[in-house]
């Protein structure tokens, strides 16, 4: 049990007084950074990176890891409370978290998010501990065909759903794909869909702009309309007993939790993917496999649990290619990577051998950070609930300001703020016309990953689609994707026919 002794050694390092203090402080800071719309773990880690020169490298990465973890927990808070995704990784949490809050079940959603994050993070870190080197090899072998097949599988989960109107879902996906194609194309180097020559479109449409527009602004407009300004936002109450009852009730969502954790971790270890696609895919799969898919998007607790467990598992997963391959799996790990270089540690396949104290101290600190994030988060739930009890006349302007800030921060470009306002109005109209909006968000995230992968694969194969079916991983993904796509559609067609015959 070499790993066990290394891990115990790591725990000894993580529980040194300085490191433990940094973990707790980092989790608390991360929680609030994550909860602020627009500010995510990327910004938090980047802003606090220079602070870490004051402490030894191991303490530094422990601190940044704690911030990263805390932010993953915190992202869910504003998604649930205000309907604005707190961070890109928490977009999927708004799909069901916000409806739950509106139904007065905000405390339940918050507890679910915290507990799911804990489970996802724990599973992720255990997988990391036990299987880091072989998983790194799998990630290494993942080429463009596998990435495309995986993305196709994610799209399939969103199309073939019984509950929603298929045509409207497809429309939503396609509009998202078109938005995702805006900007400079990697492969040809040419700009696409930049509307003449508007410089703001060159970097593409940041999907957070779309998500905040649709879910923040659009949601606010919708709330104002249906309530005619007379809103009692939430009736949620909170007590220790209720938190406990909620936790007990959560045991029923174990399927979504496990699904989110494993899927999220796996997507997280793929270079260039990260926690955002992981959480969206977990949502899609949870919905696909549920017995009651029609309740998703209307406040189903599994719709909170799946993406939240996935984004924490994925954030742990993203550390794997960073440490073992020197390739960041997410934007945040890219910044951590920069930090490691200046601390004199070269990430890559050798880091496990050359710096075991650093690696295992860090892994052990992830266990600790996970636990403290959970405790801090639950301790603050009453404060979050209090925010919801503010009158809507106060809350609406606050939401609006947070949306504007959240749209501006990622790129520091006013262009994106205008775009976000337009998306807000479009989102409101789509909502009125009963279009599902989650598929559009999914498409704008996954489209820019899927499209180059498709073209790279076809370049490699000389235009033949057989490349997707002759490689072991990609062929399995392709068959699952096709099955997911065809089966529900076929079932729907059969149902329609049966209904017809029954009527006659």
């Amino acid at each position: 049990m070499e790993i066990l002794s290394l891990l115990l050694n790591g725990f000894a390092i993580a529980f040194e007084p300085l490191n433990l203090a940094l973990i707790i402080f980092g989790c608390a800071v991360g929680l609030f950074i994550g909860a602020m719309p627009g500010l995510g773990s990327v910004n938090g880690v980047a802003i606090l990176l220079p602070m870490t020169f004051l402490v030894p490298p191991t303490s530094a990465i422990i601190f940044l890891g704690a911030i990263y973890y805390g932010a993953m927990y915190g992202g869910a808070i504003s998604s649930i409370m205000l309907g604005i995704p707190g961070a890109s990784t928490a977009v999927a949490t708004t799909f069901d978290g916000r409806p739950m809050a509106l139904q007065g079940k905000a405390d339940k959603a918050l507890v679910a998010a915290a507990a799911a994050s804990f489970v996802g993070g724990s599973i992720g870190v255990v997988l990391f501990t036990l299987f880091a080197p072989p998983l790194a090899d799998i990630a290494l072998g993942f080429g463009a065909p596998e990435i495309f097949a995986l993305m196709l599988m994610a799209f399939a989960t969103f199309v073939g759903l019984g509950g929603d109107d298929v045509a409207k879902t497809l429309f939503s996906i396609f509009i998202g794909l078109v938005f995702g194609a805006v900007g400079l194309d990697i492969i040809s180097g040419e700009p696409r869909l930049i509307f003449g020559d508007i410089p703001g479109f060159f970097h593409g449409i940041n999907f957070l702009v779309l998500a905040i527009g649709i879910y923040g602004i659009g949601e606010m407009l919708w709330t104002i309309e249906i309530s005619k300004g007379n809103v009692v936002v939430s009736q949620a109450s909170v007590s220790v007993r209720r938190i406990w009852e909620n936790l007990v009730e959560l045991t029923r969502t174990w399927k979504a939790m496990l699904l989110g954790s494993f899927l999220g971790y796996f997507v997280g270890i793929l270079p260039a993917a990260g926690a955002t696609p992981g959480s969206l895919m977990a949502y899609g799969f949870a919905k696909q496999m549920a017995k009651d898919p029609e309740t998703y998007g209307k406040g189903n607790i599994n719709g909170v649990v799946a993406p939240e467990s996935a984004n924490n598992a994925a954030s742990t997963g993203a550390m794997l290619p960073m440490l073992t391959l020197g390739i960041p799996g997410s934007p945040t790990t890219a910044i951590l990577l920069g930090g490691m270089v200046i601390w004199g540690l070269e990430p890559g396949p050798m880091v496990f051998i050359d710096h075991p104290d650093f690696v295992w101290g860090f892994i052990a600190s992830l266990y600790a950070a996970n636990l403290f994030s959970l405790l801090i988060n639950i301790a603050f739930i009453p404060a979050f609930i209090w925010v919801l009890k503010l009158p809507f006349t106060i809350l609406a302007p606050v939401i609006f300001i947070l949306c504007i800030v959240g749209g501006f921060v990622p790129t520091l470009d006013m262009h994106d703020v205008w775009l976000m306002l337009i998306f807000g109005i479009v989102g409101y109209l789509m909502r009125k016309l009963d279009y599902p909006m989650a598929p559009a968000v999914l498409a704008i995230v996954l489209g820019p990953l899927a499209e180059p992968a498709l073209r790279q694969s076809l370049l490699i194969s000389g235009g033949s689609f057989s490349i997707f079916f002759t490689r072991p991983f990609s062929s399995v993904f392709m068959f699952i994707a096709i099955a997911l796509l065809v089966l529900p559609l076929g079932k729907q067609a059969l149902d329609a026919r049966r209904r017809k015959t029954e009527r006659t």
């Binding site: 980047a46 990176l49 220079p50 020169f53 990630a139 290494l140 072998g141 993942f142 080429g143 463009a144 900007g183 400079l184 194309d185 990697i186 492969i187 040809s188 180097g189 040419e190 700009p191 410089p199 060159f202 970097h203 593409g204 270079p271 260039a272 391959l325 020197g326 390739i327 960041p328 934007p331 890219a334 910044i335 990577l337 920069g338 930090g339 270089v341 200046i342 070269e346 990430p347 890559g348 396949p349 050798m350 520091l412 180059p452 790279q456 370049l459 490699i460 000389g462």
Partner: protein, 328 residues
């Protein structure tokens, strides 16, 4: 807009008053300094050589407190640097916008005159290094020298995959050179960033690459990939087993600049500030150590000398692109 204009006037007034007050103070005291965070644009993706270098410099600045304001790295990898160049061209605050460039600084404006980018309008801050290129293969292939490489690539024809960083990028130029020099027909597949390219080779999803040392070093040390020849005038100390193409009878030497430039329209004062700052970074023990470790070469050049270097390199690349048929 009105209030902005007004506060601008007030600011100007304050600046004038403080300027008058400063007459008797030594010139150092009113030297230009950044007034807000500096945007440090990277014309390549995350995890590649340029990205790592910028984050390294950002950390040197922070560690030695060389600037009172932070430097924020921003990746603009789209279109082989086109996204970054267009961003720089239309920068709203040129005094706080700098960029770390590669050779796509020359090639992209040459290929896409429609972008309207004229590199002679950029402010020459400092060349931090010249990066080197090697030809890499996966160790599983069993290839140890160029002769075997040519044989294997010829046998596979256009099913031989060369992964690179973008269409008509440095990697593409080198691929074209190899295709022409050895009569090969390798297929060039672009990926986002040199880190990703290195990974594709290590994962056996590509047959060869022309990565910089810093991008492949980790995989090389782990025994996954192997350099078989270098595009340098002399063998690199880190990879002394890999001969140069010159030794192999193909006179081809290619470097990539790693240079900091200021946005067009940057004031003289700001440019002077950045020149001094990056000269300090170049001289730091950290940067010198980084250059050795990453097998980087080249001295620090700045100002007019750097501008002349650009114009010379631009002319060289123009000829290369014409030979490739990428431009007329």
């Amino acid at each position: 807009m009105k209030t902005l204009w007004k506060s601008g006037l007030v600011g100007l007034g304050i600046a004038m008053i403080s300027g008058l007050g400063a007459v008797s103070v030594p010139t150092d005291a009113k030297a230009w300094e950044p007034k807000k965070p500096v945007q440090f644009i990277i014309m390549a993706g995350k995890g590649g050589g340029a990205d790592k270098a910028v984050r390294f410099m950002q950390n040197i600045i922070a560690k030695h407190k060389l600037s009172s304001k932070p430097f924020t790295p921003i990746n603009k990898p789209g279109g082989t640097g086109a996204e970054a160049l267009v961003f720089m061209k239309s920068a709203t605050d040129p005094d706080h916008t700098i960029m770390f460039t590669l050779n796509s600084f020359y090639t992209t404006p040459l290929r896409q005159p429609g972008l309207g980018v004229d590199i002679s309008t950029f402010a020459p801050i400092g060349r931090m290094a010249e990066d080197t290129f090697l030809l890499w293969v996966n160790k599983d292939s069993g290839i140890t020298n160029v002769e075997q490489f040519v044989k294997a690539a010829k046998a596979k024809g256009d099913a031989w995959i060369m992964a690179g960083t973008g269409k008509n990028s440095e990697d593409n130029l080198l691929t074209d050179f190899l295709n022409k020099a050895y009569g090969l027909n390798m297929k060039y597949v672009p990926y986002k960033g040199g880190g990703r390219v290195a990974k594709e080779l290590a994962g056996n999803n590509a047959d060869s690459t022309v990565n910089n040392p810093s991008e492949q070093l980790g995989f090389y040390q782990a025994g996954k990939t192997r350099p078989i020849a270098a595009f340098t005038p002399a063998r690199l100390p880190l990879f002394s087993d890999a001969p140069t193409f010159r030794e192999l009878g193909k006179d081809f030497v290619y470097f990539m600049q790693r240079t900091v430039v200021g946005a067009p329209g940057m004031s003289k004062e700001a440019a002077t500030y950045y020149r001094q700052l990056f000269a300090k970074i170049y001289g730091s023990d950290e940067w010198q150590g980084y250059m050795t470790k990453k097998s980087l070469q080249g001295g620090f050049i700045t100002g007019d000398i750097l501008m002349r270097y650009w114009l010379k390199e631009k002319a060289v690349h123009k000829v290369m692109l014409q030979k490739m048929g990428a431009i007329k």
